[in-house]
Symmetry: C2
Subunit: 206 residues, 2 copies
């Protein structure tokens, strides 16, 4: 039930389960089963049950799972039953798209700080938020107690930005820069690079 004994790969599937449950709920379902989830997600029902069993017993024999109860439980386990404030560094095309994206808030996250190195952008507003200088990064992040950040800078700037983020107390980084970052072990990093996905699929083509 703790964190240390749950395999990372299991943790990685929990958000997938949560997303599916939210969707079922939005579609008006109240009850589901490991078999129904299996069909929808392409993950075996045994695996779904085993994954959940790391955290407790959420179902009822013969019936399945009450969607809202399981959904709430997963939100608690994932710590997304609150709102995490997230800093976004790099307000180019991608950063702008992320800043405008409406899909963060109802899933536990809110972008609340924007940074860019371009003097022409500093001071500009996107929605409620003003783009700040990288010089203010450490102070703003510390003051706001921010623990999560997204990097949407060019690859060449990403490592230095990551260093500053970590120094300022950020403990989780989602990076869109196509490089592997050097980061202390206790800081979590995840990467999004669409080309990696395209190249993987190209292997199977032709």
């Amino acid at each position: 039930m703790g964190q240390g004994d749950v395999p990372d790969i299991v943790v990685g599937r929990l958000p997938i389960y949560l997303r599916a449950l939210k969707r079922l709920q939005a579609d008006g379902h109240e009850i589901t089963s490991s078999h129904e989830l299996s069909r929808r997600l392409g993950i075996s029902s045994a695996q779904i049950r085993k994954d959940l069993s790391h955290f407790g017993e959420f179902g009822k024999q013969g019936t399945g799972y009450h969607i809202s109860a399981l959904s709430n439980a997963l939100e608690g386990i994932l710590h997304v039953d609150r709102e995490w404030h997230v800093a976004l560094v790099g307000v180019g095309d991608l950063g702008r798209a992320l800043a405008h994206y409406g899909g963060f808030v109802d899933r536990g996250f809110r972008i609340s700080l924007l940074f860019d190195s371009d003097p022409a952008k500093i001071g500009q507003k996107i929605g409620d938020l003003t783009i700040r200088s990288l010089d203010d990064l450490a102070q703003s992040i510390t003051e706001n107690g921010i623990k999560m950040a997204m990097i949407a800078t060019p690859a060449g700037a990403a490592q230095e930005v990551a260093n500053h983020l970590v120094a300022a107390g950020v403990r989780s980084i989602l990076s869109y820069a196509p490089i592997v970052l050097s980061i202390p072990d206790e800081v979590h990093v995840q990467y999004i690079d669409p080309v990696i996905h395209l190249q993987k699929m190209a292997f199977y083509l032709d």
Copy 2:
């Protein structure tokens, strides 16, 4: 050396190796080793050697790997020693960012068709490309022999778009919509949903 006998998880690491090699090359290196790659990528040297051994022998005992030779070999294995034309469906903020992104071309991909359902957008240009109606999707994709597509539509439209893409002959889809798509087994799908990554990392926070 074929495709059927190589584990999917191994294929998934090849683009990571390729990206690291390109970077080493850009930094002026000519030779590397499984140990150096291991240090940079956080993947064990034994695993790197084992992964590569599925496809041939690329190194030299005592020396390591000639970067450009291994890089070329991986490009061939991944089929990115050519340019894949990719269709992009959904030209909102994210689609626009993808259309402007310069990082596709030198890694084997070119967005060459844009589609959107919004009549106000149809006919607009982004760079060289004109945004087309979804009504033209089947014909354009078939005519251009396009095999890969990216979906950057709202979640509600993604499944129907995917159906049309598959019907038109697309065999690999990279979807940014936060839903699992129902797709025939022979079509490859990959997903990018930043919230999934953030939620996974939130588990370890607090």
